[in-house]
């Protein structure tokens, strides 16, 4: 644990230095890549995402909960315990829960079913850390989400409808920024081209270096709603899974860049 905190300190210092160096403009992917490179040099080869993934690995392998079990038997779609490349295959339908689940909700299901935890005992930061660990084992793998099961097809279609739905006092809808105004800026970041650029969906979960946050796709979706003063859908809820399924399927064939490292 001592080593962990020493590393955390080094990285924090490096991050502070990084922000001072941060410049405006250029392509956000290139910029993030540059920042990542600088951070790697400053910290001697360790990224914040490595620390989060290490924490996640610890949590994943520890025997916890009333059933005193680890999550190692959790099936993310390639069979129990097989983690390589699974992030690019989610969301998908699972026969045991009879639900389409994304990375977050699958982790949660396993914490409930394997470890015997109650839903209210599941801590969000633990799910995120575990998601980072699993993501680290999917880096470089392809995105292969393709809705084939009837349950997946149904949810994909609903996700698509939800993506175009406009509502609320600000007439909010995902598509009005991420389709119509791609590349334009309302603030620092340009609106990403969710349906046209496969890199966008392929880098979640991601670390946001500008504010030191570890986010999964669920956090990203929830923040999009909140930024336009809309109530966000609950964590692990179907609207989040439906939107993620839609976006990930659109990114079919993309190369996973995990855990993502973004502004």
């Amino acid at each position: 644990m001592g080593r962990f905190w020493r590393l955390a300190g080094v990285i924090l210092l490096a991050l502070v230095g990084l922000l001072a160096l941060a410049q405006e403009e250029v392509d956000p992917f290139e910029e993030a890549q540059k920042q990542k490179q600088q951070l790697l040099e400053l910290s001697g080869g360790i990224l914040p995402t490595d620390l989060i993934a290490a924490q996640g690995e610890e949590l994943f392998k520890a025997k916890r909960g009333p059933k005193n079990a680890s999550l190692e038997a959790c099936d993310f779609g390639r069979g129990p315990g097989r983690l390589e490349g699974v992030v690019g295959r989610l969301p998908r339908y699972f026969f045991d829960t009879r639900k389409v689940e994304d990375l977050d909700s699958r982790i949660r299901s396993c914490m409930i079913n394997l470890q015997g935890l109650r839903p209210d005992q599941i801590r969000r930061n633990e799910v995120v850390a575990i998601a980072f660990y699993i993501a680290s084992l999917s880096n470089g793998q392809p995105m292969t989400v393709r809705p084939l099961m009837p349950q997946e097809k149904r949810l994909y279609e609903l996700g698509e409808k939800l993506f175009y739905l406009r509502a609320g006092p600000r007439d909010m809808g995902c598509a009005s920024c991420h389709v119509t105004y791609v590349g334009r800026r309302a603030g620092v970041l340009p609106y990403s081209d969710i349906l046209g650029d496969k890199r966008v969906a392929s880098h979640w979960p991601a670390f946001r270096y500008s504010n030191d946050q570890a986010w999964t796709m669920a956090d990203r979706i929830r923040a999009c709603y909140s930024n336009l003063s809309m109530p966000a859908p609950d964590f692990y809820s179907e609207p989040i899974i439906a939107l993620t399924l839609f976006m990930n399927a659109k990114a079919y064939g993309g190369k996973m860049d995990l855990p993502g490292f973004i502004r």
Partner: protein, 192 residues
């Protein structure tokens, strides 16, 4: 027993009214999905108005046959300040224009001398050069009150329709943009 008829009747009428306008986007299945997102989320999304439903259905590009009636409908719901003045106090308009939780105009438009503007919308730099004629005032007021009366389904919020700004507050913003003495027109715009 009779007590149950009234709500049932109301629901029926509501259903008929919706069927008549033909502008529902939210199918029962989509409604169930949204409800699974939690009460707060559902309470806002399920209150979709018919214009929002049309924009959703047509993915923000209305076909010609829908466009005319849509704009007419949007024009009808514009309300004006009680005193009829479309230009208020530019100082108060400045605060609204430059505050994220109120107008948030600067996030999308260049022109403010106080905040670096975004480029989602067109630049409004030196907007006051358009003069202060009745037509310019009216256009500016109406665009802010109900953007969709001029730019159907665009991303800019319908500030009056959505209840984000009161008619008097919109008049203050109009003054901020048009008053020749406003800082918006006398000071240089901040750009990135």
């Amino acid at each position: 027993m009779r007590r149950f008829y009234l709500p049932a009747l109301l629901l029926l009428l509501l259903g008929l009214a919706q069927g008549q306008t033909g502008t529902t986007y939210i199918t029962p299945e989509l409604q169930r999905l949204i409800q699974a997102g939690g009460q707060n989320y559902a309470s806002v999304l399920l209150r979709q108005d018919p214009a929002q439903a049309l924009c959703s259905t047509h993915r923000n590009r209305l076909p010609a046959e829908v466009l005319g009636p849509f704009i007419e409908e949007q024009r009808k719901n514009i309300k004006y300040p009680a005193d009829g003045k479309l230009m208020g106090d530019w100082k108060q308009g400045e605060a609204i224009f430059n505050t994220l939780a109120r107008g948030n105009c600067f996030s999308c438009h260049v022109g403010s001398p106080l905040n670096i503007g975004g480029n989602v919308g067109p630049s409004l730099e030196k907007y006051g050069q358009r003069g202060t004629s009745e037509a310019v005032q009216r256009y500016t007021y109406e665009v802010i009150y109900n953007t969709w009366a001029y730019f159907p389904c665009t991303v800019m919020y319908r500030f009056g329709v959505g209840g984000l700004l009161k008619p008097e507050e919109i008049a203050h913003v109009v003054a901020y943009l048009l008053d020749p003495n406003s800082d918006f027109n006398t000071k240089p715009a901040l750009k990135r």
